[in-house]
Protein backbone atom coordinates (compact mmCIF):
# COMPACT_ATOMS: atom_id res chain seq x y z
CA UNK A 1 0.00 0.00 0.00
CA UNK A 2 1.66 3.21 -1.13
CA UNK A 3 1.65 6.09 1.32
CA UNK A 4 0.97 8.56 -1.49
CA UNK A 5 -2.36 6.80 -2.20
CA UNK A 6 -3.23 7.03 1.48
CA UNK A 7 -2.48 10.74 1.28
CA UNK A 8 -4.62 11.00 -1.85
CA UNK A 9 -7.56 9.43 -0.01
CA UNK A 10 -7.18 11.89 2.86
CA UNK A 11 -6.95 14.84 0.48
CA UNK A 12 -9.97 13.78 -1.58
CA UNK A 13 -12.02 13.11 1.55
CA UNK A 14 -11.09 16.49 3.05
CA UNK A 15 -11.85 18.41 -0.13
CA UNK A 16 -15.07 16.53 -0.84
CA UNK A 17 -16.49 17.22 2.62
CA UNK A 18 -15.34 20.83 2.54
CA UNK A 19 -16.92 21.46 -0.87
CA UNK A 20 -20.07 19.47 -0.22
CA UNK A 21 -20.90 20.46 3.33
CA UNK A 22 -18.41 23.11 4.44
CA UNK A 23 -16.53 20.91 6.92
CA UNK A 24 -12.95 21.81 7.67
CA UNK A 25 -10.68 18.98 8.89
CA UNK A 26 -9.12 19.24 12.33
CA UNK A 27 -5.51 18.65 13.29
CA UNK A 28 -6.09 15.56 15.39
CA UNK A 29 -8.81 13.10 16.24
CA UNK A 30 -9.22 14.23 19.86
CA UNK A 31 -9.93 10.62 20.76
CA UNK A 32 -12.85 10.35 18.34
CA UNK A 33 -11.04 7.63 16.39
CA UNK A 34 -11.73 5.36 19.37
CA UNK A 35 -15.47 5.89 19.02
CA UNK A 36 -17.41 3.03 17.43
CA UNK A 37 -18.36 3.28 13.79
CA UNK A 38 -21.74 5.03 13.71
CA UNK A 39 -22.53 4.79 10.01
CA UNK A 40 -21.06 3.43 6.83
CA UNK A 41 -21.64 3.14 3.11
CA UNK A 42 -19.71 1.81 0.15
CA UNK A 43 -19.70 2.31 -3.59
CA UNK A 44 -18.64 -0.34 -6.09
CA UNK A 45 -16.65 0.95 -9.06
CA UNK A 46 -16.00 -0.92 -12.30
CA UNK A 47 -13.55 -0.06 -15.05
CA UNK A 48 -9.91 -0.85 -15.80
CA UNK A 49 -9.77 -1.81 -12.12
CA UNK A 50 -12.74 -3.04 -10.08
CA UNK A 51 -13.18 -2.36 -6.41
CA UNK A 52 -15.02 -0.66 -3.59
CA UNK A 53 -14.68 2.59 -1.71
CA UNK A 54 -15.98 2.27 1.85
CA UNK A 55 -16.58 5.24 4.11
CA UNK A 56 -17.20 4.80 7.83
CA UNK A 57 -18.03 7.63 10.20
CA UNK A 58 -17.32 7.82 13.89
CA UNK A 59 -18.79 10.18 16.48
CA UNK A 60 -21.57 12.48 15.29
CA UNK A 61 -19.92 13.39 12.00
CA UNK A 62 -22.83 12.16 9.87
CA UNK A 63 -25.29 14.30 11.83
CA UNK A 64 -23.13 17.35 11.18
CA UNK A 65 -22.86 16.51 7.48
CA UNK A 66 -26.62 16.05 7.13
CA UNK A 67 -27.34 19.24 9.03
CA UNK A 68 -24.94 21.23 6.87
CA UNK A 69 -26.44 19.79 3.70
CA UNK A 70 -30.12 19.83 4.65
CA UNK A 71 -30.69 21.82 7.81
CA UNK A 72 -31.65 20.79 11.33
CA UNK A 73 -34.68 18.73 10.36
CA UNK A 74 -32.78 16.02 8.48
CA UNK A 75 -34.32 12.66 9.40
CA UNK A 76 -32.86 9.17 9.27
CA UNK A 77 -33.65 8.70 5.58
CA UNK A 78 -32.02 12.02 4.72
CA UNK A 79 -28.92 11.19 6.77
CA UNK A 80 -28.60 7.88 4.97
CA UNK A 81 -29.06 9.57 1.60
CA UNK A 82 -26.43 12.17 2.53
CA UNK A 83 -24.00 9.43 3.56
CA UNK A 84 -24.52 7.67 0.24
CA UNK A 85 -23.91 10.87 -1.67
CA UNK A 86 -20.69 11.47 0.30
CA UNK A 87 -19.53 7.93 -0.52
CA UNK A 88 -20.43 8.42 -4.17
CA UNK A 89 -18.54 11.69 -4.42
CA UNK A 90 -15.43 10.42 -2.65
CA UNK A 91 -15.37 7.31 -4.84
CA UNK A 92 -15.92 9.34 -8.00
CA UNK A 93 -13.02 11.61 -7.14
CA UNK A 94 -10.48 9.18 -5.74
CA UNK A 95 -10.60 6.63 -8.56
CA UNK A 96 -9.37 8.97 -11.33
CA UNK A 97 -6.73 10.39 -9.00
CA UNK A 98 -5.23 6.91 -8.66
CA UNK A 99 -5.87 5.42 -12.12
CA UNK A 100 -5.88 8.57 -14.25
CA UNK A 101 -8.47 10.90 -15.76
CA UNK A 102 -8.45 9.01 -19.06
CA UNK A 103 -9.82 5.86 -17.48
CA UNK A 104 -13.61 5.49 -17.53
CA UNK A 105 -15.17 4.02 -14.42
CA UNK A 106 -18.80 3.26 -13.72
CA UNK A 107 -20.01 3.70 -10.19
CA UNK A 108 -22.87 1.69 -8.74
CA UNK A 109 -25.38 3.11 -6.32
CA UNK A 110 -24.23 3.40 -2.71
CA UNK A 111 -24.84 0.41 -0.47
CA UNK A 112 -25.35 0.47 3.27
CA UNK A 113 -24.07 -2.72 4.86
CA UNK A 114 -25.83 -3.87 8.01
CA UNK A 115 -22.53 -5.17 9.34
CA UNK A 116 -20.01 -2.43 8.87
CA UNK A 117 -17.05 -4.76 9.30
CA UNK A 118 -14.76 -4.65 6.30
CA UNK A 119 -14.37 -8.44 6.47
CA UNK A 120 -17.62 -8.63 4.52
CA UNK A 121 -16.01 -7.19 1.47
CA UNK A 122 -13.47 -9.95 0.68
CA UNK A 123 -11.15 -7.66 -1.22
CA UNK A 124 -7.59 -6.46 -0.85
CA UNK A 125 -7.01 -3.11 0.82
CA UNK A 126 -5.37 -0.77 -1.68
CA UNK A 127 -5.29 2.43 0.37
CA UNK A 128 -6.76 3.86 3.56
CA UNK A 129 -7.12 7.30 5.04
CA UNK A 130 -8.74 8.88 8.09
CA UNK A 131 -9.72 12.52 8.37
CA UNK A 132 -10.64 14.05 11.73
CA UNK A 133 -13.31 16.71 12.14
CA UNK A 134 -14.65 18.39 15.27
CA UNK A 135 -17.63 16.04 15.47
CA UNK A 136 -16.00 12.78 14.41
CA UNK A 137 -13.71 10.93 12.07
CA UNK A 138 -14.20 9.81 8.47
CA UNK A 139 -12.40 6.54 7.69
CA UNK A 140 -12.12 5.79 3.98
CA UNK A 141 -10.83 2.49 2.62
CA UNK A 142 -10.30 1.58 -1.02
CA UNK A 143 -10.44 -2.15 -1.82
CA UNK A 144 -9.62 -3.70 -5.17
CA UNK A 145 -10.72 -7.07 -6.56
Amino acid sequence: MAENWNNAIREVTSKSLEDLCFLIPGDDTAGLDAEPVAAGAYVVFEGPVNGIVLIQMRGTLLNEIATNMLGDDAGEAERRDALGEVANIICGHIVPVIWGAEAVFSLRRPEFPEDLGVSLLHRAVFAVGSVPFDSGVADVTLFVD
Binding site: N88, P96, V104, R109
Partner: protein, 125 residues
Amino acid sequence: MALRVLVVDDSAVMRSMVVKVLHMTGLPIVEIREAENGKAGLEALEQGGIDLALVDINMPVMDGLTMLDLVRANPKLASLPIVVVSTEGSDKRIKELRDKGAAFIRKPFAPEALVDAVVNAIGGG
Protein backbone atom coordinates in the same frame (compact mmCIF):
# COMPACT_ATOMS: atom_id res chain seq x y z
CA MET B 1 -36.90 34.18 -20.61
CA ALA B 2 -38.75 32.22 -17.95
CA LEU B 3 -37.03 28.92 -17.28
CA ARG B 4 -38.69 25.64 -16.37
CA VAL B 5 -36.09 23.22 -15.09
CA LEU B 6 -36.13 19.47 -14.50
CA VAL B 7 -33.72 18.00 -11.92
CA VAL B 8 -33.12 14.26 -12.31
CA ASP B 9 -31.20 12.51 -9.53
CA ASP B 10 -31.94 9.42 -7.45
CA SER B 11 -30.63 11.18 -4.34
CA ALA B 12 -33.32 13.33 -2.74
CA VAL B 13 -30.56 15.09 -0.84
CA MET B 14 -28.75 16.04 -4.03
CA ARG B 15 -31.99 17.11 -5.74
CA SER B 16 -32.73 19.29 -2.74
CA MET B 17 -29.27 20.86 -2.88
CA VAL B 18 -29.50 21.50 -6.63
CA VAL B 19 -32.94 23.08 -6.23
CA LYS B 20 -31.67 25.29 -3.40
CA VAL B 21 -28.75 26.47 -5.50
CA LEU B 22 -30.98 27.08 -8.53
CA HIS B 23 -33.22 29.29 -6.41
CA MET B 24 -30.16 31.25 -5.28
CA THR B 25 -28.77 31.87 -8.74
CA GLY B 26 -30.89 34.81 -9.81
CA LEU B 27 -31.78 32.97 -13.00
CA PRO B 28 -35.38 33.56 -14.17
CA ILE B 29 -36.61 30.17 -13.00
CA VAL B 30 -40.38 29.90 -12.71
CA GLU B 31 -40.69 26.16 -12.10
CA ILE B 32 -38.49 23.29 -10.97
CA ARG B 33 -39.68 19.72 -11.35
CA GLU B 34 -37.90 16.68 -9.96
CA ALA B 35 -37.50 13.08 -11.07
CA GLU B 36 -35.69 10.23 -9.33
CA ASN B 37 -34.38 8.33 -12.33
CA GLY B 38 -33.91 8.62 -16.07
CA LYS B 39 -37.20 6.94 -16.93
CA ALA B 40 -39.21 9.31 -14.76
CA GLY B 41 -37.15 12.19 -16.13
CA LEU B 42 -37.87 11.19 -19.70
CA GLU B 43 -41.58 10.93 -18.94
CA ALA B 44 -41.51 14.40 -17.41
CA LEU B 45 -39.80 15.78 -20.50
CA GLU B 46 -42.30 14.11 -22.81
CA GLN B 47 -45.11 15.91 -20.98
CA GLY B 48 -43.56 19.14 -22.29
CA GLY B 49 -42.87 22.55 -20.84
CA ILE B 50 -39.28 21.96 -19.72
CA ASP B 51 -36.55 24.31 -20.95
CA LEU B 52 -33.53 22.69 -19.32
CA ALA B 53 -32.68 19.40 -17.58
CA LEU B 54 -30.00 18.74 -14.97
CA VAL B 55 -29.31 15.01 -14.99
CA ASP B 56 -27.25 12.65 -12.83
CA ILE B 57 -25.54 9.67 -14.49
CA ASN B 58 -25.65 6.90 -11.92
CA MET B 59 -29.32 6.14 -11.22
CA PRO B 60 -31.49 3.04 -10.90
CA VAL B 61 -34.16 2.03 -13.45
CA MET B 62 -32.61 4.19 -16.18
CA ASP B 63 -29.23 5.91 -15.94
CA GLY B 64 -28.53 9.41 -17.15
CA LEU B 65 -26.54 8.34 -20.22
CA THR B 66 -29.43 6.22 -21.49
CA MET B 67 -31.82 9.06 -20.80
CA LEU B 68 -29.56 11.45 -22.71
CA ASP B 69 -29.46 9.09 -25.71
CA LEU B 70 -33.25 8.75 -25.72
CA VAL B 71 -33.71 12.51 -25.46
CA ARG B 72 -31.37 13.12 -28.38
CA ALA B 73 -33.17 10.44 -30.42
CA ASN B 74 -36.56 12.08 -29.82
CA PRO B 75 -37.20 14.77 -32.47
CA LYS B 76 -39.33 16.78 -30.04
CA LEU B 77 -36.63 16.82 -27.37
CA ALA B 78 -33.40 16.49 -29.34
CA SER B 79 -32.34 20.11 -28.91
CA LEU B 80 -33.18 20.38 -25.21
CA PRO B 81 -30.30 21.86 -23.17
CA ILE B 82 -29.00 19.26 -20.74
CA VAL B 83 -26.42 19.65 -18.00
CA VAL B 84 -25.08 16.38 -16.61
CA VAL B 85 -24.31 16.68 -12.88
CA SER B 86 -22.22 13.75 -11.74
CA THR B 87 -19.22 12.57 -9.80
CA GLU B 88 -18.02 10.60 -12.84
CA GLY B 89 -15.63 13.01 -14.46
CA SER B 90 -13.14 11.15 -16.63
CA ASP B 91 -11.87 13.02 -19.69
CA LYS B 92 -13.40 10.40 -21.98
CA ARG B 93 -16.80 10.60 -20.27
CA ILE B 94 -16.84 14.41 -20.48
CA LYS B 95 -15.97 14.27 -24.19
CA GLU B 96 -18.70 11.67 -24.74
CA LEU B 97 -21.22 13.96 -23.07
CA ARG B 98 -20.12 16.99 -25.05
CA ASP B 99 -20.36 14.99 -28.26
CA LYS B 100 -23.97 14.31 -27.32
CA GLY B 101 -24.59 18.00 -26.80
CA ALA B 102 -24.65 17.98 -23.02
CA ALA B 103 -22.75 20.22 -20.64
CA PHE B 104 -21.07 18.70 -17.60
CA ILE B 105 -20.56 19.80 -14.04
CA ARG B 106 -18.92 17.67 -11.43
CA LYS B 107 -20.26 17.04 -7.93
CA PRO B 108 -19.72 18.65 -5.53
CA PHE B 109 -20.12 21.94 -7.33
CA ALA B 110 -19.83 25.58 -6.36
CA PRO B 111 -23.05 27.57 -6.95
CA GLU B 112 -21.31 29.82 -9.47
CA ALA B 113 -20.17 26.78 -11.45
CA LEU B 114 -23.77 25.60 -11.70
CA VAL B 115 -24.88 29.05 -12.85
CA ASP B 116 -22.16 29.11 -15.52
CA ALA B 117 -23.13 25.65 -16.75
CA VAL B 118 -26.83 26.55 -16.90
CA VAL B 119 -26.23 29.89 -18.63
CA ASN B 120 -23.96 28.26 -21.20
CA ALA B 121 -26.40 25.41 -21.76
CA ILE B 122 -29.33 27.73 -22.50
CA GLY B 123 -27.17 29.79 -24.80
CA GLY B 124 -26.61 32.81 -22.65
CA GLY B 125 -22.89 32.36 -22.18
